[in-house]
């Protein structure tokens, strides 16, 4: 553990070092943290990899429950038990698009900095949209070509981030876009319906409780699109899914 710093109102960035992990993480993958050594809470907690700087790895979180409360108490020098990287990365290597349209809601910003780097490596420009309740909850570091929306209008567009994206793209169309979105489920549903209506390819990164993070507990089903009911696993097959493949 290197430490926990504040990145916004109630928002914390925890950093730790792992040379091996820092080399293998790809944008969109997650890390499964054991927050306590004892059996309370019992299960690991999944977090998107937020930033990597040499062998230093960061995750971003706010305290919403007992898992994140325990994380907030971690200190420099503590040894963290981290399983990862887990899950499938975003599909950034894809000849079907030229511009990455990145959309984050609240702490859904988490995978976007690594995604920005990955897309730049592919030579693809990005335009980023980030929404939050108010300016204090916007975590805007390490993003590019950023446009913001806040519910209270304290910074950027007043309203939700999907309306901002819709408004922006109607005025400034981009060539062959692909949307990458991460945030609360209602936002992801709105992004998906916007993407479908605008015929833009779209991947959404889902968040939900997971038992194990590696596919052995079968506890995180995601309903697949198609005439016959079936499920993928959020942890193993996701957490990012092309919206054409899932029910959203």
């Amino acid at each position: 553990m290197e430490g926990v710093r504040t990145a916004g109102e109630g928002i914390h960035v925890l950093s730790f070092t792992s040379a091996a992990m820092s080399r293998s993480i790809r944008a969109g993958q997650f890390l499964n943290l054991r927050v306590e050594e004892a059996c309370e809470p019992l299960l690991r907690r999944p977090f998107s990899a937020y930033r990597i700087e040499k062998s230093s790895i960061e995750i971003v979180f706010n305290v919403v429950g007992r898992g994140t409360a325990a994380l907030r108490r971690k200190k420099q020098g503590d040894v963290l038990d981290v399983l990862g990287p887990l899950g499938k990365p975003f599909k950034t290597i894809d000849p079907g698009f030229d511009t990455g349209v990145l959309i984050g809601g609240g702490l859904g910003v988490a995978p976007l900095p690594l995604l920005t780097s990955a897309l730049k490596q592919e030579g693809k420009p990005v335009v980023t949209f980030l929404g939050a309740r108010s300016a204090a909850q916007l975590v805007t570091d390490h993003l590019e070509n950023l446009h913001t929306a806040t519910d209270d209008g304290s910074r950027g567009f007043r309203g939700n981030v999907v309306d901002l994206v819709s408004d922006f793209l109607s005025k400034h169309p981009v060539e062959h876009p692909k949307i990458f979105a991460c945030g609360p489920m209602p936002m992801l549903r709105a992004v998906a319906s916007f993407a479908r209506a605008s015929e833009i390819t779209c991947e959404v990164s889902l968040e939900g409780p997971m038992g194990c993070g590696i596919g052995i507990c079968q506890g995180c089903p995601v309903e697949l699109a198609g005439p016959e009911k079936s499920y993928a696993l959020m942890c193993k097959d996701g957490p990012a899914f092309d919206i054409r493949t899932i029910k959203i």
Partner: protein, 314 residues
């Protein structure tokens, strides 16, 4: 070095720690964190005749020291298991026990027949105790005559080790263990999950889509230990202890209570190498205490009186 290997119904296992059905997939998901060849055995996810998609979300909930699950026996079905998963399992240097779930006695027989001739399947564990499916599952597991009938029918179909996994959701588990023994079952696995429930007080809705689910994890260990003790006193066939084992100390309690071997379940979700660490810890305990063979621990409980636990309690 203490002797860790033993024979379970004629099957040589390298140690007494197996991974429980439904907590290790088909063995191929944990490779980066654990070498399954160091386990005493792998018990597969329950296999049914046809693939099952499982229950809708929400399937899991975390509770104090435990978790509830209602997976609904999601599995790829016995045929895809043979073509997609068994080749890998054959390459692992450990025993592979196929767990079978079904909604009719005929279906249990059919799945076992399909698996019986397959090289690489070393034995069977029959799931008569899933709390999360409407048909089959607990309807069989809580009916002693049905458990006896299933054991009898399957016994006639195989000479390989036949284990029956019992539910704790009955009044006297010893009677069920005796029924399995009487019909020629080689061992009983004790126990499956306890029926449990969690409610979201904000919405007044159950957390799980099926309202109730199966409780597992450290929270159930004392219950499991008592069930193992009861079963082990009721029968002469081996009892395989399961329920909340997360470390060697937990496993040793089960062995002392009368379990011939143990299964590690929920702990795999937190650490896929948990079973291996438990096996190593048991061997270390034996070496440190001058116990030449892990078998010497099995059923070694000194039930004469309680003991002071002040040190570990303080």
């Amino acid at each position: 070095m203490a002797l860790t290997s033993f024979r379970l119904a004629g099957l040589e296992l390298k140690n007494r720690v197996l991974v429980a059905s439904g907590t290790y997939g088909y063995g191929d998901d944990c490779l980066e964190t654990a070498d399954p060849g160091k386990l005493g055995g792998i018990i597969t996810k329950s296999l049914s005749l046809k693939p099952r998609i499982g229950n809708p979300p929400v399937r899991i909930a975390e509770t104090a020291g435990g978790m509830l699950n209602s997976i609904g026996l999601a599995n790829i079905g016995v045929h895809r298991f043979l073509s997609e998963k068994l080749p890998f399992l054959r390459s692992v240097d450990t025993a592979v026990i196929a767990n079978i779930a079904a909604s009719t006695i005929e279906e249990y027989c059919e799945v076992l027949r399909i698996l019986e001739g397959e090289d690489g399947i070393d034995g069977f564990e029959i799931n008569v105790s899933c709390p999360n499916v409407r048909e089959g599952g607990l309807i069989f597991g809580t009916d002693c005559a049905a458990v006896a009938e299933i054991t009898r029918r399957l016994r006639a179909l195989t000479k390989k080790p036949l284990l029956v996994k019992l539910t704790p959701n009955v009044t006297r588990i010893g009677e069920f263990a005796r029924a399995v023994e009487a019909e020629g079952g080689d061992a009983v696995s004790v126990m499956n999950t306890l029926i449990g429930m969690a409610i979201d007080i904000k919405t007044r809705k159950p957390v799980l889509s099926t309202v109730t689910g199966g409780l597992s994890g450290p929270a159930i260990k004392p219950v499991a230990l008592a069930k193992v003790y009861e079963a082990a006193r009721a029968v002469r066939i081996p009892v395989i202890g399961i329920g909340g084992i997360t470390n060697a100390s937990d496993a040793l309690e089960f062995l002392i209570a009368g379990a011939t071997a143990v299964q590690v379940g929920t702990a795999n979700f937190i650490d896929p190498a948990a079973g291996i660490k438990v096996a190593e810890g048991i061997a270390r305990y034996c070496d440190e205490n001058g116990i030449p063979d892990v078998a010497d621990l099995v059923g070694s409980l000194d039930a004469g009186s309680g003991t002071s636990v002040l040190d570990s309690w303080l």
